[in-house]
């Protein structure tokens, strides 16, 4: 009887672990264990809207296909706020008589790493290569800078990106990540494919797919390049 119960306990524990983890098999470097409180470092088998709304940091299970290593290593040593209202704005929004505002004191600050830690974490994150199939055959033309004026018009008036994103510090919508450092932050293939189809990367992404042609996306990315390279 004891053996039977122990066996059942083991089965129950195993099933509970497998079910609660609910992730696709993907070995994760031990150094990333501290990141898991806020970030998904393993690909979830599925994510519900509730789970998306509770997330604190962006997904990292495809970090090796998303970020630029040079930027990442620098940012980890001196983290700036990328999501002005947090990864899900609703958790940090309060209603006031003058409209909704972001409760900035409520936002989580990313820990600062030293150089060695930043290098090790970057190395570990670059092993996380989910979604490689999205970028495998993506051909990207030359990204030409566009004038600040035309780029801004396109970003703000024609495509409506500024509703959710800032193209200059403190200027633009706050529910999405800031984009004035996007060109140096992201790999080009990620940037282009995400803008074309956010749900391919993150099924519960809050960003709508505006069915943009790759040429239109490349023009927007040209503006992000201008923002990055022509900093005042």
């Amino acid at each position: 009887m004891t053996i039977k119960i122990n066996l059942l306990s083991m089965i129950a524990t195993f099933v509970m672990l497998m079910t609660t983890m609910a992730v696709k098999a993907n070995p994760v470097d031990g150094i990333l264990s501290d990141c898991m409180a806020c970030h998904a470092v393993s690909e979830p088998s599925e994510m519900t809207l509730d789970e998306r709304m509770k997330r604190i940091g962006p997904s990292l299970f495809y970090a090796g296909n998303k970020y630029q290593a040079i930027w990442l290593e620098k940012w980890l040593q001196n983290p700036t706020r990328l999501f002005p209202a947090g990864v899900y704005y609703g958790e940090h929004t309060v209603v006031t008589d003058e409209g909704d505002i972001v409760l900035e004191t409520d936002l989580v600050t990313h820990p600062k790493l030293d150089q060695q830690q930043a290098q090790e974490v970057t190395r570990a994150l670059f092993k996380l290569k989910a979604n490689s199939e999205i970028v495998a055959d993506l051909e990207v033309g030359e990204i030409k800078k566009v004038s600040q004026r035309m780029g801004s018009l396109n970003f703000r008036k024609f495509k409506g990106c500024a509703s959710c994103h800032q193209d200059a510090e403190g200027d633009g919508g706050v529910s999405g990540p800031e984009l004035y450092t996007a060109f140096e932050r992201f790999q080009l293939t990620y940037l282009i494919s995400y803008m074309q189809n956010p749900q391919a990367w993150e099924p519960k992404s809050l960003m709508p797919n505006q069915h943009l042609k790759q040429k239109d996306v490349e023009k927007l990315v040209g503006y992000l390049k201008t923002l990055s390279e022509d900093k005042p």
């Binding site: 079910t19 409506g160 959710c164 919508g173 529910s175 709508p208």
Partner: protein, 119 residues
């Protein structure tokens, strides 16, 4: 026998918590996707509004909202402001929301504007 009961209850809890379909509601969808511009309470003053050139619709405006049919609201959510000759700042949500979810949102808009009970 007690141990066996604990094991079975644990298993039952694990499976029931994961097999339960999460209840989706118009309010939850509104808080996830719409409130960033239209406001947590639907008054048109969301956190993104400060830098917008066109103010988002005030969903608590009974008169204005009553002039829109459910079909208009469905269309503008699914295909964006351009589809009804309104601002491009209202994007198309067809890649994110199913038709059933858009119906839930339309019902929620009727709660916000006109205190009509959500279906």
């Amino acid at each position: 026998m007690n141990k066996l009961a604990i094991v079975l209850v644990t298993l039952a809890c694990v499976f029931s918590s994961h097999s339960q379909a999460e209840p989706m509601s118009g309010k939850k969808l509104y808080q996830a996707y719409c409130a960033q511009c239209h406001g947590m309470e639907g008054d048109g003053y969301g956190i993104n509004v400060e830098f917008m050139e066109v103010l988002p619709r005030d969903h608590t405006d009974t008169e204005e909202m009553s002039s829109r049919t459910d079909e208009d609201l469905f269309k503008v959510i699914k295909f964006g402001g351009k589809s009804i000759d309104k601002s491009v700042l209202m994007p198309n949500w067809d890649s994110i929301l199913t038709d059933d979810e858009i119906d839930l949102l339309v019902s929620h808009l009727r709660v916000l504007c006109c205190e009509i009970e959500e279906e």
